[in-house]
């Protein structure tokens, strides 16, 4: 248990309280779970308008050095050398056994002023461990600069581009999964066209002492409403995105996590991914279990930890995230099943409070992703 006074506050804490947020401990920080309109309304607002999220708890760091992309490839399965300037890639930090230590966004900066540095965004709960691991494994080749003085906002939803363009006209022409420095309302930001909600949108790395000013400016726009962690979770679950510590952890490899797309072609051919023996075997023969979506037949949600049964009652897996999908209009879940049961349409049962409930395996995501490519 973490005592309340040990929790960090983001620079937007006072604004959250002013907006009536219910503040809860999350990954060592006091974060807004929801605002007075509630999770359902915030979720729907993000799917139809634009939601503003404080994600300042996440870790941001520069990895400075020479040939950083090549060095960092020793810790991830992705092809980082092929990243264009300004391009962002979603990848996973792996241990030597191919287990996932974190998922992260890696960006090659658009302007190469110092060596070949890369920008990373990490999960809040994993940042310290990740930076220690990367620092140790890249020792002598790279220096990490943890950006404590930067906050992170996410502006997500179909109206996000229209809103952000009013403050930064270049935002409208940004490509999906690209990032660049940009003044937003005269505030120097790093803007990326990325997100976790399945909608079009942006993430803005902002100087901590100016983030409240920017958040207030954005919230004045008619399309923008503040959105908390509760809706962030239901949005990402509908979008089929993993939550570290639930859907992926150091016991899961990228192949069983249905993230094989992260393993670069060049990396497969060179067989130089971390945990190569495990990962290449899983790629060649298929993993023993796979991450899939579940659609319960009834209205009852099945949550993290619910056991998955085959129709004959044999235990075949576990739910790792589950709840109610507001856009789906019913319960949704994801988790792992033995590969023989991973095909879409397979009938399974999810055990909720001791009672098996019928469900079907479905393809992820639950809601089509709304990313746009201008």
């Amino acid at each position: 248990m973490t005592a309340e006074h040990d929790l960090k506050k983001t620079p937007l804490y006072d604004l959250h309280v002013e907006l009536g947020a219910k503040m809860v401990p999350f990954a060592g920080h006091l974060m807004p779970l929801q605002y007075p309109t509630g999770i359902l309304a915030e979720h729907q607002h993000t799917r139809t308008q634009a939601g503003l999220f404080d994600v300042s708890h996440m870790g941001q760091a520069w990895i400075n050095g020479t040939e950083v992309a090549a060095s960092l490839e020793a810790l991830v399965p992705s092809d980082l050398r092929s990243l264009e300037r300004g391009q962002t890639r979603y990848t996973v930090l792996l241990n030597d056994d191919g287990g996932i230590l974190d998922d992260m966004m890696v960006t090659r900066p658009i302007y190469q002023t110092e060596g070949s540095r890369m920008f990373v965004v990490l999960n809040a709960s994993r940042t310290l461990a990740d930076l220690a691991y990367i620092g140790q494994r890249l020792s002598g080749r790279a220096v990490l600069v943890d950006l404590d003085e930067r906050s992170l906002l996410a502006l997500q939803g179909p109206k996000a581009a229209a809103v952000l363009s009013r403050f930064a006209p270049e935002a409208a022409t940004m490509r999906y999964m690209f990032a660049r420095p940009m003044e937003v309302a005269e505030i120097p930001c790093r803007v990326s066209r990325t997100g976790y909600t399945g909608e079009d949108g942006f993430e803005l790395s902002v100087p901590a002492d100016q983030v409240e000013e920017l958040a207030r400016r954005l919230l004045q726009e008619p399309e923008v409403a503040p959105v908390g962690l509760g809706a962030r979770d239901s949005l990402r679950l509908e979008a089929g995105h993993c939550l570290y510590g639930h859907d992926i952890d150091d016991t899961t490899d990228p192949i069983e996590a249905s993230l094989a797309v992260l393993v670069g072609k060049r990396r497969r051919e060179a067989a130089d991914v971390p945990g190569a023996a495990r990962i290449l075997k899983a790629l060649a023969e298929g993993p023993a279990r796979r991450r899939v979506g579940f659609k319960p037949a009834g209205r009852q949600p099945a949550r993290d930890g619910a056991v998955v049964l085959a129709p004959d009652g044999t235990e075949i897996g576990v739910v790792t995230s589950g709840g109610f999908g507001p856009t789906v209009g019913g319960p949704i879940a994801m988790g792992y099943v033995q590969s023989a049961f991973a095909g879409p349409g397979t009938a399974v049962q999810l055990v909720v409070r001791g009672t098996p409930q019928p469900a079907v395996v479905v393809k992820l995501p639950f809601v089509p992703r709304g990313h746009v490519q201008p």
Binding site: L40, G230, P301
Partner: protein, 124 residues
């Protein structure tokens, strides 16, 4: 007719030896948007303080306890069909179930409205 309250934020509206049970406005405000309610079937025996129903919000599942011992006589189909009634009208149309009360003397251990309001005021 009287209404009594538990420290677990259930209310029971008592009429003779029958009671109608739901959760309080404070409880629904803490739960947030309710998306599913699992109600007990008529005929089910309830233990005072034992689990009687489950209410699921977007973020979590919570148990609803029986204020006193007895037997379920009816469940509110309207709230099963439209769980948002728990948020919009928790202490009237959003009721969960009706029960035959085994021992009305048990009700004396519960709080009245004034005591419950003081209890809630004392929680943060």
């Amino acid at each position: 007719m009287s209404v009594k309250y538990t420290e677990d934020h259930e209310w029971i509206r008592v009429d003779g030896t029958t009671g109608r049970v739901g959760i309080t406005d404070y409880a629904q405000s803490q739960l947030g948007d309710v998306v599913f309610v699992d109600l007990p079937a008529a005929g089910r025996a309830l233990v005072g303080g034992g689990e009687a129903a489950v209410v699921e919000s977007v973020k979590a599942a919570s148990e609803v306890y029986a204020p006193v011992a007895g037997t379920v006589t009816a469940a509110n189909q309207a709230v099963a069909d439209d769980p948002s009634l728990v948020n919009s009208d928790p202490e009237a149309d959003g009721w969960f179930y009706e029960m035959a009360i085994a021992d009305p003397a048990e009700l004396d251990r519960l709080m009245d409205k004034a005591a419950y309001d003081r209890f809630v005021a004392g929680l943060d």
